[in-house]
Amino acid sequence: MAAVRTSSEVALNRVAIVAVLLITLIFLAPIYWIASTAFKPRNLATTIPPTVLFQPEISPFVKLFTKRSQLRTPPTPEEYAAAPWWERLVFDGGEKVVRDGKGNVQPSGYPSRFMNSLIVAITSTILAVGMGTFTAYGFSRFRIKGEADLLFFILSTRMLPPVVVAIPMFLMYRAVGLNDTHWGLIILYTAFNLSFSVWLMKGFIDEIPKEYEEAALVDGYTRMQAFFKVVLPEAATGIAATAVFCFITAWNEYAFALIMTNRRAQTAPPFIPSQVGSGLPDWTVIAAGTVLFLLPVAIFTFLLRNHLLRGMSFGAIRK
């Protein structure tokens, strides 16, 4: 390591720092835009040039979670005074909260769509990573006839754009009744992620010396026990990395969710843009929905960040 830095190295270093900052800014700009829009009053959401300084509001989130309709007549002062703070925010926007006959507030479709997203993404991630790990272990540890061909075949399922198969899939799903069901999407996303999961996990498991299992075998364990007690803990890094990628893919998937689901099993991505409000598109509500939608992936990635960083350098650096 050179302890002394030449002036040109220092200059280069500064250029690199500026470049990294710029790139980071470019990547963060849309996130800032959407996050700030989620707190804007509706009339400032679409101004050109965009408003940067404004009084943040919570009303987009209130609207996101409630079912609303257009106000024909403004609320009477009594109605306005009797309404809780959040309902007043809706009144202020020229809308009213829809209540059922007993006066209960009707929720919007967002919470259930969000829940659908969680169910579908988590289940398909568990399935894809689980099956992928087992498959990868088999490919990694046993001599399999036509191993290279089989692996290529698995990879080839990712070689065409998914939309190409959307219509045949739709027809097949309709025939077997999987349309607009959680399992329909789970199966689809699992299949879609499986090849990725197998390949990624095979790389990670190949890196685990097989002596560990052999040691466990002579220590009196069966191969299955050796897999769970020795291989899995060692593969934790790879499993975390694979899980994050699979989760992101399933979480963000739009095209199939749009085609295959419409109500019961609809996930958040196709739902959010359909939230056009009761009149014109309400961009602040869309932005609020998007911001909340970003959170699970951010949290998941944040929790696994140490594993992810290790995952990135896995194989390159081994003690």
């Binding site: 560990y212 052999e214 040691a215 075998l217 002579v218 220590d219 009196g220 934790a236």
Partner: protein, 367 residues
């Protein structure tokens, strides 16, 4: 009380036969070393005994029972790997306890056993550490502890100290010997290092290209190598081998190294011993460096030779002597031959001489 017997063992990797008709009987409590170059089949043999490798032909018997169809977990054999193979996500304690937890042993007893073996191996203060925090020697101690802790029928060691540096290797060698004497268990140890083999073994099994070459105590294989391979593989520095011719002369017998003007004097007995043995014209003479005697003064039976290269090794020197077309390496006192190119006189100690036929088999003639 464990005997292990291999009967007609054969193993193929594809078309390559890595073990060829191996027969071996290992007695209870014996320390057996499988010695050979890499690829000679010694590790495959060990793995076959452990059950990590299937065999194509033959039987593996433990205490008279064939075990080749049993899974390794059912053979009750422990193994120490060259790479140590400590489970990185477990502490030293958990590593050692791991084989015990495969059995129905109670927690208290596991604890007692782990602490007992840790005490013997002097690693008690390491129990809470992760393997990555250990030195190479300590890792191997833990690996040995993990193998010994459940008192297996037999202990297999695959180059257990091969990955350590030279000094540590010597230390661990003594440690392994100490443990074997203290604990006593049938042990099969694989190495390519003949010094390790000599130092540790009750009996050495020398293998070459999948074929067993010789089985014997360290002394036997050193003093009575059954063929040229064993002769040259065991012992350091390596045994000299030279094409030689045996003839009768007025003093007795003489052995002339190819290209040399004169022969070395041997007792007349040699002739009668060689008589009836394979064609004496195509002989190989084998002589360890300590059997080549060197002095500065001319004397009866000593031939004038030229010192070619001198390797000082501290307690002794190895001097390459040009005799005829061949080089003979002699072991001398440190600094005895001062410089390369010096003229000295050399003789062969007949009691150190080995004779091999054209096929490299020992003629079994010793004086």
């Amino acid at each position: 009380m464990t005997q292990i017997e291999l009967r007609g063992l054969q193993k193929f990797f594809g078309a390559v036969q890595v073990i060829k008709d191996l027969n071996l009987k290992i007695e209870d409590n014996e320390f057996i070393v499988l010695l050979g170059q890499s690829g000679c089949g010694k590790t495959t043999t060990l793995r076959a005994i452990a059950g990590l490798e299937t065999i194509d032909e033959g039987d593996i018997l433990i205490d008279g029972q064939p075990v080749q169809h049993l899974k390794c977990s059912d053979r009750d054999i422990a193994m120490v790997f060259q790479s140590f193979s400590l489970y990185p996500h477990m502490t030293v304690y958990e590593n050692i306890a791991f084989p015990l937890r495969a059995t129905r042993m109670s927690k208290a007893q596991v604890d007692q056993e782990v602490r007992g073996i840790a005490k013997i191996l002097r690693i008690t203060d390491l129990l809470a550490k992760k393997p990555s925090a250990l030195s190479g020697g300590d890792m191997q101690r833990v690996a040995i502890g993990r193998a010994l802790v459940r008192r297996p029928k037999a202990m297999l060691m695959d180059e257990p100290i091969g990955a350590l540096d030279a000094k540590l290797r010597e230390e661990m060698r003594a440690e392994i010997k100490r443990l074997h004497v203290k604990q006593g268990s049938t042990t099969i140890y694989v190495t390519h290092d003949q010094i390790e083999a000599m130092a540790l073994a009750d009996r050495i099994v020398i293998m070459h290209e999948g074929v067993l070459q010789q089985v014997g105590s360290p002394d036997e294989v050193y003093r009575y190598p059954s063929n040229l391979f064993v002769a040259q593989f065991v012992g350091s520095p390596v045994m000299n081998v030279a094409n030689a011719a045996v003839a009768e002369d007025k003093a007795g017998a003489s052995v002339t190294v190819q290209g040399a003007p004169q022969g070395f004097a041997f007792p007349r007995e040699l002739l009668s011993k060689l008589n009836g043995k394979a064609a004496s014209s195509a002989l190989s003479l084998g002589i360890r460096p300590e059997g080549v005697l060197v002095q500065h003064e001319a004397a009866d039976g000593f031939l004038p030779v030229e010192a070619h290269i001198i390797e000082p090794l501290g307690s002794y020197d190895i001097v390459d002597l040009k005799v005829g077309d061949q080089m003979l390496r002699a072991r001398t006192r440190a600094g005895y031959v001062a410089r390369a190119g010096a003229r000295v006189f050399a003789r062969i100690d007949p009691s150190h001489a080995h004779f091999f036929d054209a096929g490299g088999q020992s003629l079994g003639v010793r004086l």
